[in-house]
């Protein structure tokens, strides 16, 4: 790209090196007011984005997934500052852009670009492709080397379109080609961050793959940083380095791609992934692997108290209704907001009595899935145990150093449970994976569970 350096250059002097934080979001909120009556008094708010924190590093792709209405598109519009945040902070290259005005944002617009979902409504039907793609140059007053037309034609060929189509109108192109035009427009000013909101969901399968590959190639060639918002988990896995899972305006889990897909920790992530139909007829009707969520997503006008997922979660206990779990880094590269994560040590082991709603939800989860979840959690617990023991032997008994994986376990009672009964804990994996389903019908549902049993067992037992 040969775009002359910005003349003012006051704020955006140096490029962030790969791996450095390009965009930092803290406590970001967007509440849309609901007004009623003659006086248009505010009677409530749609809490579309309700306090999220994340970073985007230079050169990476952050994927954002979630169901419709979870606030992922609003988030995209907040970080590109197409919407004004209600609270929180957005920093781009260390500069606070949260409340910058139109004029203040203008120099940043060339660094942050957006690709929209619908290639039909995001291109002006009265303008030629040339006009559309050259608009960024006009708006920013940039005169590329060799003239605007030449640069636009170069961009068109970069995205795989015929440069001779410069004078055609959007209706002369197919959906996939229009999406390429949108991409060319976003790339015109050599941006650092590209936010793509559902870039392929309006396209046919075979065209989707073309656009995904194009985005991939452009990232390698131009060193772009992407935030890709999509609802399709398989597409997101394909394009992202890290993935944020959103639910009702909150980030539930933010993790490196492989960690997230191999060992999801948040029950919601697990349910979301198990719901994706697998194109393999041999797995037809493999209900055992699927976690069905009951009902619909609650309204973002009055989200559930505590953990927002507790109304549909099969592991929810009392603490989930009262205390909102913070987004904590439980394992390097995997942040989770859950009291009772899967594939990991329980964060609130003292709280073992399931809610009635959770029991209903557990009925939709197959015994296999529950047993597997109990087994993996117990195995992790045992692993933590072993590390703790090893540390015990090395250090003096009075100063137990918290092992890496247990850094999150800060309260005394949590560390106590993980160090006190090594025998029982270590035995847990065997019993929970084999015995739990078998003994399911004999146990009384409300029976208080012995303290040394991991929390993942009750759902399996109560089935």
């Amino acid at each position: 790209m040969t775009i002359p350096a910005q003349s003012s250059g006051a704020t955006l002097t140096k490029d962030a090196a790969p791996g450095e934080t390009l965009l930092k979001v803290t406590g970001l909120q967007k509440h849309f007011p609901i007004k009623k009556g003659l006086l248009q008094r505010q009677v409530g708010a749609v809490r579309a984005v309700d306090g999220i924190d994340f970073e985007v590093r230079s050169g990476e792709t952050l994927g954002v997934v979630g169901e419709s209405g979870c606030g992922k598109s609003t988030m995209g519009r907040l970080i590109t500052r197409l919407l004004e945040p209600t609270a929180g902070k957005v920093e781009f290259e260390g500069k606070d852009i949260t409340h910058l005005g139109v004029g203040g944002m203008r120099p940043l617009r060339r660094d942050v670009q957006m690709i929209f979902q619908d290639p039909y409504s995001s291109l002006n039907p009265r303008h030629t492709i040339g006009t559309i793609v050259s608009a960024p140059f006009k708006l920013q007053g940039v005169e590329p080397e060799g003239g605007v037309k030449k640069e636009v034609q170069r961009l068109l060929s970069v995205v795989g379109l015929n440069p001779e189509h410069y004078n055609r109108y959007p209706h002369e192109f197919s959906g996939g080609q229009r999406q390429r035009i949108g991409i060319a427009r976003a790339l015109a000013l050599n941006p650092k961050l590209v936010v793509a909101d559902e870039p392929v969901s309006a396209l046919d399968v075979s065209i989707q793959a073309q656009v995904v590959n194009l985005l991939d190639d452009l990232q390698t060639e131009l060193g772009l940083t992407y935030v890709i918002i999509a609802h399709d988990l398989s597409v997101v896995r394909h394009v992202s380095d890290r993935i944020a899972v959103m639910y009702l305006g909150k980030i539930m889990e933010l993790a490196d791609r492989d960690l997230l897909y191999k060992t999801p920790m948040h029950p919601y992530t697990k349910a979301l992934m198990s719901a994706v139909p697998i194109p393999d007829p041999a797995r037809r009707g493999a209900k055992s692997e699927r976690i069905l969520l009951k009902g619909d997503v609650p309204s973002p006008i009055a989200p559930p108290s505590g953990c927002r997922f507790h109304t549909r979660c099969w592991k929810a206990t009392q603490i989930c209704t009262t205390t909102e779990p913070p987004l904590k880094e439980l394992r390097p590269g995997q942040q989770v907001a859950c009291h009772h994560p899967e594939n990991f040590e329980d964060q609130a082991p003292q709280d073992v009595v399931l809610l009635t709603a959770a029991k209903e939800a557990a009925e939709l989860v197959s015994e296999d899935a529950l047993a597997e979840s109990a087994a993996t959690s117990a195995a992790v617990a045992a692993e933590v145990e072993a590390i703790a023991e090893a540390n015990d032997e090395m250090t003096a008994p009075s100063t137990v150093a918290a092992p890496d994986e247990a850094t999150a376990a800060s309260t005394d009672d949590v560390t106590a449970t993980s160090t006190d009964e090594p025998g029982e804990e270590a035995a847990a994996p065997a019993t929970s994976s084999t015995d739990a389903p078998a003994t399911s019908k004999t146990d009384t549902p409300e029976a208080p569970v012995a303290p040394e049993v991991t929390d993942e067992e009750p759902p399996a037992k109560e089935k």
Binding site: V205, Q210, R237, M273, P277, D280, R290, L292
Partner: protein, 365 residues
């Protein structure tokens, strides 16, 4: 229902030469063409398939490949509209339980529609009437085909809403469509289409507008209901994951024609058409390790007015030059059997395709 189908056999006397088939649903050489100012749009151009009761057929293809037009053709919804200047030109035969639908009396087909065959549409918000409650709409569908009073019909509506998993059905029956969420609307649509226990259910992109979690619920529901009622189901979608979940047989459409048809396992594991390879290569998969790159189909779907000569897929096919004498560009390939109940329309020899699939395509998927 049984009386109807019995009497139906008499009404739908075959007009052509072919005798009534044994299959529950048999479509023979179905063509649906639309005359337009720009020329004749051949949306469906010679489609043949059979479907038995209790089985599911998946129809896959990109937008404009003729999937939805096929389903509307079976339902007889193209000829129904007499208002426009131009009518769709439909030819071929559609046999439903011994009745030929295309030559049958429209009044008779109307009796079958909704009762013996029903349809679930893609967008429940536009398929449901915003002015009537969900209950009223289901009651209407029931009372058209059953001579019962409103009370009985409403009880039936509540029962159906309960069956499709709508909470508090006795209250929600009086709700309007806008008061339902997307997933609930789709459930209400399913309740409405199943209220008469149809023997044939056509689901046209039933989950495309829904989130994955809701999609999983709806697919489960369709599967359970099919088991319960033993209906034949046609599921139309562009998502290979969805058909893999449900379909016993698969029909891949391209440019208004079937390019590959066979049991789902065969089409997924031993596809014999380059377009099917392209579809499989285009989709990122969660059940496999990360692919380095997707293998898309180049180009874009053809215009149905001006289909490429020869094989309609030839401009996008990476193997168009494998067969000799430019045959792909001049001769349209016919469906040929490539294995038990498995057909594909390609000029490449069976050995060539087998080799390309096993050596070049399959390892990359």
């Amino acid at each position: 229902m049984t009386e109807l189908s019995k009497s139906g056999a008499a009404v739908g006397e075959p007009t052509g030469t072919s005798p009534a088939p044994k299959a529950f649903l048999e479509v023979r050489d179905l063509k649906v063409h639309f005359p337009t100012d720009d020329g004749l749009v051949k949306s469906v151009d010679g489609l043949t398939f059979q479907l038995e009761k209790g089985k599911t057929l998946g129809i896959v293809g990109e937008s404009g490949s003729g999937k939805s037009v096929t389903s509307l053709g079976i339902m007889g919804l193209h000829t129904a509209g007499q208002y426009g200047k131009r009518k769709a030109q439909i030819s071929g035969e559609i046999w439903l339980d011994g009745t030929e639908l295309l030559s049958a009396d429209p009044d008779h087909v109307r009796k079958l529609r909704g009762r013996n065959m029903a349809m679930i549409f893609q967008d429940p918000l536009s398929a449901l009437h915003p002015y009537y409650t969900i209950g009223q709409q289901i009651v209407e569908a029931y009372r058209i085909h059953h001579d019962v009073d409103k009370k009985t019909a409403k009880r039936r509506a509540v029962e159906m809403l309960d069956r499709v998993g709508i909470p508090q059905p006795d209250k929600r029956v009086d709700s309007y469509p806008h008061e339902f969420s997307g997933g609930m609307r789709q459930r209400a649509m399913i309740a409405m289409s199943l209220v008469n226990n149809p023997e044939l259910l056509i689901a046209d992109e039933p989950t495309t507008a829904l989130d994955v979690t809701v999609q999983a619920q709806i697919l489960d529901l369709i599967r359970d209901l099919q088991k319960e009622f033993g209906s034949a189901v046609i599921i139309i979608t562009h998502d290979l994951g969805v058909v893999a979940e449900l379909a016993d047989d698969l029909l891949v459409m391209y440019g208004g024609r079937c390019v590959e048809r066979g049991p789902a396992e065969k089409v997924f594991y031993e596809p014999r058409h380059p377009y099917t390879w392209g579809l499989l290569g285009s989709m990122p998969r969660l059940d496999r390790d990360q692919q380095e790159r997707l293998i898309p189909v180049k180009g874009s779907p053809p215009s149905l007015i001006n289909l490429p000569s020869g094989c309609a897929f030839n401009p996008r096919c990476p193997y168009a030059d494998v067969p000799k004498d430019d045959v792909t560009r001049t001769v349209r390939p016919e469906l040929t059997e490539v294995g038990g109940r498995h057909w594909a329309a390609c000029h490449m020899s069976q050995e060539q395709r087998e080799r390309i699939w096993t050596e070049e395509i399959a390892p990359k998927l």
